[in-house]
Symmetry: C2
Subunit: 427 residues, 2 copies
């Protein structure tokens, strides 16, 4: 069924054009979802009300779906389990021991919770990396979000298997199985240069190339890993990845904080995509600031990720947009960087994940903090938060309406109950 | 009428104790509002249901009212009018010319909007500085918030009067008139050392001392003002304020970014209160970071302010708590600073403004991003935002319930309409 959103106060489209007092029509053409923006669409498009789902756009603003290009959604389960700790203690004492207790079923429910959180906050596409990928992909499809679900590889193993070769085979099988799905895409995720060997990276790259998927990896998140590599092999992580032939246009690198201008040029040269995770980087105090301005100047495609909810501690890209803007202004003592248009483009760019952004998010402007509207784009970036999202339409399907999930309260309460049960095993 | 909140999942009190599965009773004793926390209060306190307003606390967390210790709420009107600009251009080209157009009535409606926004976000007390103080105080009382409304003084005048002596007289009259009010308190606000002379500061200090009010002022927000003063009089702002006898326990200084360790010691010595405004400082890119850790180590009382919504661009202290934590961790490369307890104490400390914190804010935990609850204090600081506030009880009065203002939609729509009208005069 076609969807008509009538009488919207504002629309911001993915090219950042702003419209006032318009309608949006969401229709299917040859299996593809198309968005039409204009005045009086009911007449102009010659529509019949009975063929339409009609949504009232009064006191609302429409914008494209938001994208979260680096996350670990099952870590919702570990939200708040450890904060304000030194990274190594956080991992060794809290995160890893508790992760080891997670079953496939736990990961499924954690993914469902994370998916619901993203949907609630207007995120319609995301790039995931966590073990038990099959369960994450299943939850993503059930909710109806667009997800790149990347199968994580670590040389010393994951809870899925301690055997590297087995993991690589499982990853390939996972990709083969799901490569032709419509709204979810499988991918492969060698964890990071300090946890994966050269052979692991090159095998992953071959698999990504063969099946035409993304290769999702952590790059230069902390000083420690950079210094270690410099000491051991006299190369920095991006030099190394270039050297072993991994840098390419199907690579998406998360963090990229501790990189030089020369490394920025290499990212641009090989058309590597970057996921910037400012909230997580600040919270873990990994130090430094990702060179956003230098990357954009060189033409690197940069988008925004929340990272996992154990280090953020939510999946709110509206919040992350503001943090992005504030961090770079403060870092450079220059209020003109991290400007509204720059961060909006980063947050709308689902094409980085291979998804066309034909999703629509409505924000509820009936809130004191979103009044007046002197500049709707400013209100989105600097004043709004995830809870202002009112309605979310993914691929032509309404998944959230009037701030309510289509799944119903009973279903939700069951999820919350399962989640409450899982947390009892942590310490 | 007494209020009983039954079956709360969690309560965090102002000493940061955490309770599970308890009730809260809010009662009046000798005109004072008292909070009782415990299990089965209906029986224990021998209460009769018909004497009570009963609120269901299921799936909710209660916490004290939040405090916003530096703001300019009528600037809601200018929200989003200018962003991503160099401070001097922002002020000269956008803020000052448009502020000059504001009438008393505009400021009244802007204050009402700002007050509603703070109430929606669980802020029950605030420290204000803006011209047409009488109108701000009126709106604050109508809403029912606790406000310190400080009358601003600038040597070259404000829209209230261009004559400094007249302004000082008006300030004194304003303070005399309102000094015995219950939930609002008048105060005096010499703007900053670079806009007020020594004589202005000392006169303001005399008025503050005589009427037992706060003296609210900006201190060392930007490098520029510090360097100017060092060049001109060989003193830094806090040295100067000490030298002229202004530093004292009734002074609340906003920003205090560009200050030395020696100046931190002076703040501690004179028991000056500090309002930290990290979001605004980052957005305006004033550079540097307020020395929070040094201040706390010296025993300075530090709280959190949003600053005006033109430079933030909202009044969300829950958001500002997270920004505070992230900024200091990132700044010091140390995740243990800006920890949960530190920022919660800052946000609950309404005593800095002379208000006992006997207010109660309920957060709605029926949201994916607030599940599971591994640590309720972590969820408040790192996962929640202002819209998660469900119910606000100020001084024993319910002002927001189930996310709805007691004022009703018709009233609200009228405010929004007025605000929409006012913005037409800006350019």
């Amino acid at each position: 069924m076609m969807i008509l959103v009538e009488n919207l106060n504002y629309v911001v489209d993915k090219e950042l054009n702003v419209y006032e007092s318009v309608d949006i029509l969401i229709k299917k053409e040859n299996e593809k979802t198309k968005i039409v923006i204009g005045k009086n669409l009911l007449e102009k498009e010659n529509l019949n009300k009975k063929d339409l789902k009609i949504i009232d756009g009064k006191n609302k603003c429409a914008m494209p779906g938001l994208t979260n290009t680096h996350t670990h959604i099952p870590m919702t389960l570990l939200r708040g389990i450890a904060d304000d700790m030194i990274l190594q203690n956080w991992l060794n004492d809290k995160i890893w021991p508790n992760e080891a207790k997670l079953t496939k079923e736990d990961v499924y429910y954690g993914s469902f919770l994370g998916g619901l959180e993203m949907l609630r906050f207007g995120i319609t596409s995301f790039n995931e990396m966590y073990f038990f990928s099959e369960e994450i992909l299943g939850a993503t499809k059930e909710i109806g979000l667009k997800g790149v679900i990347s199968f994580p590889i670590i040389d010393f193993g994951t809870p899925e298997s301690k055997d590297l070769n087995k993991l690589l085979k499982m990853a390939e099988k996972f990709i083969k199985k799901h490569k032709d799905e419509k709204i979810v895409k499988p991918a492969i995720a060698p964890h990071a240069p300090y946890t994966c060997s050269k052979e692991t990276y090159t095998t992953c790259k071959e698999i990504a190339d063969e099946y035409n998927t993304l290769l999702h990896t952590h790059i230069s998140e902390t000083r420690y890993e950079v210094v270690e590599m410099e000491n051991n092999i006299k190369m920095r992580p991006i030099e190394y990845l270039e050297n072993i032939g991994v840098l390419d246009s199907n690579v998406i690198g998360a963090h990229c904080v501790w990189i030089t201008k020369d490394e920025v040029k290499k990212l641009a040269k090989h058309n590597v995509k970057v996921s910037h995770c400012p909230g997580s980087n600040m919270k873990l105090a990994s130090g430094g600031v990702m060179p956003l301005v230098e990357m954009l100047n060189e033409g690197v495609k940069v988008s925004i990720g929340t990272d996992g909810p154990a280090s953020n501690n939510n999946l709110d890209i509206l919040e992350e947009m503001k943090i992005t803007a504030l961090l770079h202004k403060a870092h450079r003592w220059d209020p003109t960087v991290g400007d509204i248009d720059t961060v909006l483009k980063m947050a709308f760019d689902s094409e980085i994940l291979g998804f066309e952004n034909n999703d629509i998010v409505l924000l509820d402007l009936n809130a004191p903090h979103l009044r007046p509207v002197n500049n709707i784009k400013s209100n989105i970036v600097y004043s709004a938060n995830g809870n202002d999202v009112d309605t979310v339409i993914v691929n032509g399907r309404v998944l959230l309406e009037n701030k309510k999930f289509i799944f119903g309260d009973k279903f939700l309460n069951n999820i919350y109950k399962k989640i409450g049960k899982i947390k009892e095993k942590f310490n």
